[in-house]
Subunit: 348 residues, 2 copies
DNA sequence: TTGTAAGCGTTATCAC
DNA sequence: GTGATAACGCTTACAA
């Protein structure tokens, strides 16, 4: 007698008049006599039997679950990343435990502990806490941040993205460039955007300035700086690279409010490749992160299908796309209609 | 000897020189002698022991996991909903299995089967497939769609949202209204937006038209309709209610391209309350869904803490917010800075 | 209070 | 091939 309503293998075995082992063999694709197989399948069908993954996981020491540790789902970059990661893992027959940390160090550590306790087969994490304790027995892939030499790190080519931004601005006619950055203080791969930009400026011999604001502060210093450099309505720079699309868009509105025309007076490039919710176009001119490829690579690594197992740093190529804040014509999005505007996924 | 690297309760018991049951009791907060507790805790600490939730889940028939079945993470509405659901469940000590269905009926059914097989303690689902087979033994909460009389359904007050839109448009001076709808054919709670709108129009005695386009088609018929009604640059309607913000925004751009001024010539209201990624303001004038409350209510129900256990339909209040596509001044968002623009969550 | 042992639903290793 | 049976790591009567 089962206290629960769910039938077990035992029930199926009894119903089919075979031994427990035989049922297991049927469900695991091992050779079984034709007549037996039929009987087992009939019994399973009749009882509506489903194998219990918890029992299987305990026995096999394998759960087919991956932990996904991310700062938030409210930011489109993370949302799309998790979407691609989950979809990709689903295709490989894995479930996910999505943990939202809000970039809180406590929550980050707690999430690690929790998914480890739930015996995930691997963890893909985008975290900031510098001193995270991780179980060395569980495969880990870090996104956008190098833990050390042995945990694989997947990121976009931040340095080249920075170069690309500078090159594009110059190519589009800018004479004096500016780099603006807001973000966490912790050294992450994303911090190579500035150096990349700087390197290209030097190489091209174009004058530039760098303004960084970190973690705990507001963006106020940036706006102050911009105001100071707004000589008689015309700023003394004509090309800005922002370290995220979010910042780029805010700088854009701010300057427009000050009467600066964009892209006529100043051209602006962001980083990420966030798409417009309504029409699927880029929100601003931007360096696009290859989110799908980053997801696929992370999954390949975590599942041990890594085609590049000998290196722990996986830097994926970025590209430039125009989105109206530069003087070139807007590019179509890399992935058409990610919100499916013309088909109805938004029936909520 | 363990083949795995992970210590088990047995190891802890041996290390502490106590019996297995004692270790278990310590970890479950049952009374244990002070000296024993100390020894167990020391041993656990030393071995870095973590309880194996898979073994516990098998034994207890309780996994502390909830399945979340959603169409997508690329649409901000779903992304924010999943964010709130996950955060809320985390607070209650639960993990989630997030499944992305892309509104595909096959994937929807498969997701149900998968999370059921993983013995989740409950499922919160936003699905469209009409004939889903669900395990009656697992608690289910449906969002935005009524399955039947006994599975609880959580939704925003779609009917009243429709009324509210009509009332607002009239209040803001509109004389001839139009309702536009695109979405799946399946009857969902969201389809009450139109009837609500119509009901208010009748009550207020204001002329209106309704134009519905469903599932498989594109939005082309809507644009054709609009063009036909664009007499000499001035449309013969001055207030539009769209069943989603996405549609509202697209209609907005389309009309502006045709030379129609918004909100001067035509005022538009959408539904959902999607926020601008860069500044956290509403993207358009809209009927705001109470996403946080919907998440909390769903979690309460699924965990059996339902404060309203006697009714299976949970209709949560919506409100109107201005977002620049109507002639009132834009409202501040209900939740300040959901993308934290002035603090650095976007260090990617 | 603490120790012992049965059992959760699987898989895997034996003999037959 | 098939059928018993011993694990997997934990909780929980029950006995001491």
């Amino acid at each position: 007698m089962n206290r629960s309503t769910q039938p077990t293998m035992k029930d199926v075995a009894r119903e089919a008049g075979v031994a427990l082992g035989t049922v297991s063999r049927v469900f695991n694709g091992f050779p079984v006599g034709e007549e037996y197989r039929r009987r087992v399948e009939a019994a399973a069908e009749k009882l509506n039997y489903r194998v219990n993954n918890y029992a299987r996981g305990l026995k096999m020491n394998k759960t087919n679950c991956i932990g996904l540790l991310m700062p938030s789902l409210k930011h489109p970059f993370f949302a799309v990343l998790i979407d691609e990661l989950t979809s990709c893992l689903t295709r490989h027959g894995y479930l996910t435990h999505v943990m939202i940390t809000n970039s809180d160090p406590e929550a980050e550590q707690k999430s690690f502990t929790l998914v480890e306790q739930n015996k995930v087969d691997g963890i893909i994490a985008l975290t900031y806490r510098p001193d995270i304790e991780v179980d060395p027995g569980i495969p880990l892939v870090s996104i956008d941040r190098r833990f050390n030499d042995w945990v694989p790190c997947v990121s976009s080519d931040n340095f080249h993205g920075g170069e690309l931004a500078a090159e594009k601005l110059v190519e589009l006619g800018c004479r004096k460039l500016l780099f603006l950055r807001i973000g966490p203080t912790l050294l992450s791969e994303a911090d190579k955007r500035g150096p990349g930009f700087e390197s290209a400026c030097r190489r091209l011999g174009v004058p530039y300035e760098m303004l960084m604001v970190n973690d705990e502060e507001t963006e106020a210093p940036i706006y102050r700086f911009l105001l100071e450099h707004l000589g008689a309505g015309k700023p003394d720079f004509d090309g800005i690279f922002c370290n995220t699309d979010g910042l780029a868009l805010r700088i854009c509105s701010f300057l427009r409010e000050q009467g600066v025309r964009i892209p006529e007076d100043v051209q602006i490039i962001g980083y990420d490749g966030i798409l417009n919710f309504a029409n699927g176009m880029y929100l601003c001119s931007t360096i696009v992160q290859p989110i799908l490829k980053m997801a696929e690579r992370s999954v390949d690594i975590i599942l041990g299908d890594d085609p590049h197992p000998d290196n722990s740093s996986h830097v994926l190529p970025v590209f430039y796309a125009s989105g109206g804040t530069t003087r070139d014509i807007p590019s179509p999005p890399a992935v058409a209609n990610i919100y499916n505007p013309f088909r109805a996924t938004e029936g909520n």
